[in-house]
Symmetry: C2
Subunit: 418 residues, 2 copies
């Protein structure tokens, strides 16, 4: 795509995003319902396109150019399709995050300030493989009145094209939806154009590996929401319950080893009596234990677990704040003071007590859906749902008030919340 063509998509998206601010909750839900129905009705067409992508991908796997895991994520089946459609109906049920009054304050007689939630504007979403991301992100964008420019993996190009086409046709059938709200680009060069489009794109959300996220952060002025690493820790305190520890660590490591909220480093208090039994149980579950310091900053996403003995909760906290990625960490302890200390001083998006790290997820938190998990320290942190896709504006309504009257002392502010 040339620069001009890309700029036209940006302009269209920007203009659609401004119009989308005026959509009522009812219209947005009508649009979402139409999308869900259209996806169901067109599933054969979508499976067909997916088959084309899979045939090509199969060759790439054979040539060693694509992993088997990516191939599996690319594949759509009846189950994934049902989840996609159900996910949209779930979003219909969620509260509209736009047009909420966050503050209403009388600055002076007849001078009222409102703080009102509103969409961010245009989102740039860069993701790999999984075509089901399109319907999820599109639905969240519709509900939050944001425009999006999607860039998926080239392996799923056929599937992505058909899915977005079905979605856009469904939206066009609903009165009031602005054209150009949901857009898609395809090439690697388009990513470069996206990163330069700070005039049009308000937020970039990359969903992919460390390298992708780091590259994006280093090459754009646009704010980036997401996480590069998921180096999650579990600290087993001196007073931890052994059976609880076995259950939780095995869940956190083996339930879905390639997830970002999987535990990567196990810190064990050197006075914990059950250490040997715990480690044997973990090994018996097929997990390789690694005791080298080089493992402390690694995300294995595999059945491998770094293990380190620490003197106390303070050393555990220090270790996590030094080597962690700010994602999710859990303390296993029967000591309430240590639990409090850990949760207050560990500087991560999620800090857990006696629970598996695998709970770090928008659905599990009850957000209905998530655009991703953020390890940012600004805007949104942890699993990000609809609330992370809005910002606010200030509306001030008066009858000719001027600042000079307040500077001269003729009038005074009284700041009364209404």
């Amino acid at each position: 795509m040339d620069t001009k063509e890309f700029e036209n998509i940006c302009k269209r998206a920007k203009s659609a995003s401004i119009k989308a601010q005026g959509l009522s909750t009812e219209t947005k839900n009508k649009g979402l319902t139409a999308v869900a129905k259209a996806l169901e009705e067109n599933k054969d067409k979508i499976f067909e396109a997916n088959k084309k992508d899979l045939e090509f991908a199969k060759e790439l796997v054979a040539e060693g150019k694509l992993t088997k895991a990516t191939f599996n994520r690319l594949k759509l089946d009846e189950n994934k399709m049902r989840d996609m459609v159900q996910g949209i109906y779930d979003i219909v049920k969620l509260d509209d995050p736009v047009n909420k009054t966050l503050l209403k304050r009388q600055l002076d007689e007849g001078l009222i300030l409102y703080k009102i939630s509103c969409p961010i504007g245009v989102l740039g979403i860069i993701f790999e493989a999984r075509p089901d991301v399109i319907s999820q992100i599109s639905s969240l964008a519709i509900k939050s009145s944001n425009a999006v420019i999607l860039k998926g993996g080239k392996e799923s190009k056929n599937t992505n094209t058909v899915i977005l086409d079905v979605i856009n046709k469904a939206l066009a059938s609903v009165d009031g939806f602005p054209e150009g709200l949901l857009n898609q680009v395809y090439s690697r060069d388009d990513v470069a154009l996206m990163l330069q489009a700070d005039k049009y794109i308000d937020l970039i959300i990359p969903r992919g590996g460390n390298k992708l996220v780091q590259f994006i952060k280093g090459n754009t002025k646009i704010p980036v929401l997401g996480h590069a690493d998921g180096i999650c820790h579990i600290y087993v305190d001196e007073s931890a319950d052994l059976e609880l520890a076995k259950r939780v660590v095995i869940d956190a490591k083996t339930q879905y080893p390639s997830a970002c909220n999987t535990v990567e480093t196990l810190l064990i208090n050197k006075n914990f009596k059950g250490a040997e039994e715990l480690l044997n149980t973990i090994k018996a579950a097929g997990v390789e234990l690694i005791f080298e310091p080089e493992s402390w900053h690694k995300e294995y996403s595999d059945l491998k677990l770094a293990v380190k003995y620490v003197a106390n909760v303070d050393e555990a906290i220090d270790h996590i704040n030094t080597f962690g990625s700010g994602h999710t960490e859990s303390i296993l302890t029967e000591n309430e003071d240590n639990a409090q200390k850990f949760m207050n001083l560990v500087d991560s998006a999620g800090v857990y007590h006696n629970v598996s790290t695998r709970f770090a997820d928008g659905y599990r938190y009850g957000f209905g859906a998530e655009v991703g998990i953020s390890t940012n320290k600004t805007h949104a942190r942890g699993p990000v749902g609809l609330d992370g896709l809005v910002i606010y504006k200030y509306k001030l309504i008066g009858s000719g008030q001027i600042v000079q009257d307040y500077v001269s002392g003729k009038k005074q502010f009284h700041h009364k919340d209404l």
Copy 2:
């Protein structure tokens, strides 16, 4: 400063920021009160340091290397000193933004999720001239439990050093304050180091002109909060009250022409009967009117005003969304529908009806103090007070829950807000 030395400051700040999360509101207010008293008690020492800076700056003004306006902002007097101290007492009175429970949700029996506000961490503040910024930013950082690394203008080096020294000594006298919470660096090279320190610094707040802000945004992975331009608009609708329009436009342009919330472009509905009289009145107030399209994207910060006739409120909205900087815009009209449309569709941090744009300010909004005004579309928008200096973390407390039980269907989430 060499890289190692700078990294040490960063590490100290990071460590202090983690300890500061544990400070009680009482301790923080005690610290703020000690700072206010110390500044009062040491004002002669501060004036002395300021005198040194002014002597040097006077030469720079004579050589044409420093503007008279910058010289004036550099100068501290009894009034500014009183405002500085009063500003700190105002912050004492504000609510503590840290440790607020934003959400408490039962995910399942005995599995409770908390969303708790917490400090961002380490703030990098880059500002020019005005030494009173130090006490303002330091006080906001203390109240919000954030660490800061300050980089002021070299013209105010002596004043800045003495002020931060007085503040830090006062904090050291209060039990519990971690060392290294408030730090200062001095050289241009230190700014380069700051921009690279994304491992330690969580947010950069530049307070300065367009060039500084654009340079910073283009040269760091760290999120940047602020505004580059303040191209504010007033749209005079067909039904605007002429006397109100005169009063508001003159206030918005002349009350403090170099402020970022000063009006720069006046859009007039071509059917507005009072146009000629309005423009004559503005001219009579000493304002130069400019009718060239090149003026539409200029921030004059001076007694100059771009003027454009538009067909209707839609054209006004389009013009602002195209040429504006997303700062603050006002519609003057007696037509409620047009006012609503303008405030909903203009994509700016502040959208006003029948009010001067000069009200865009943290003090006037009742925030007590501000770190700056943001035109960002994420995190914080408009005047940013204490609320903009916090983020949140999720705490999850259970008794050995594992995700496998929910995936297998053995248990179900019920997501009940408490």
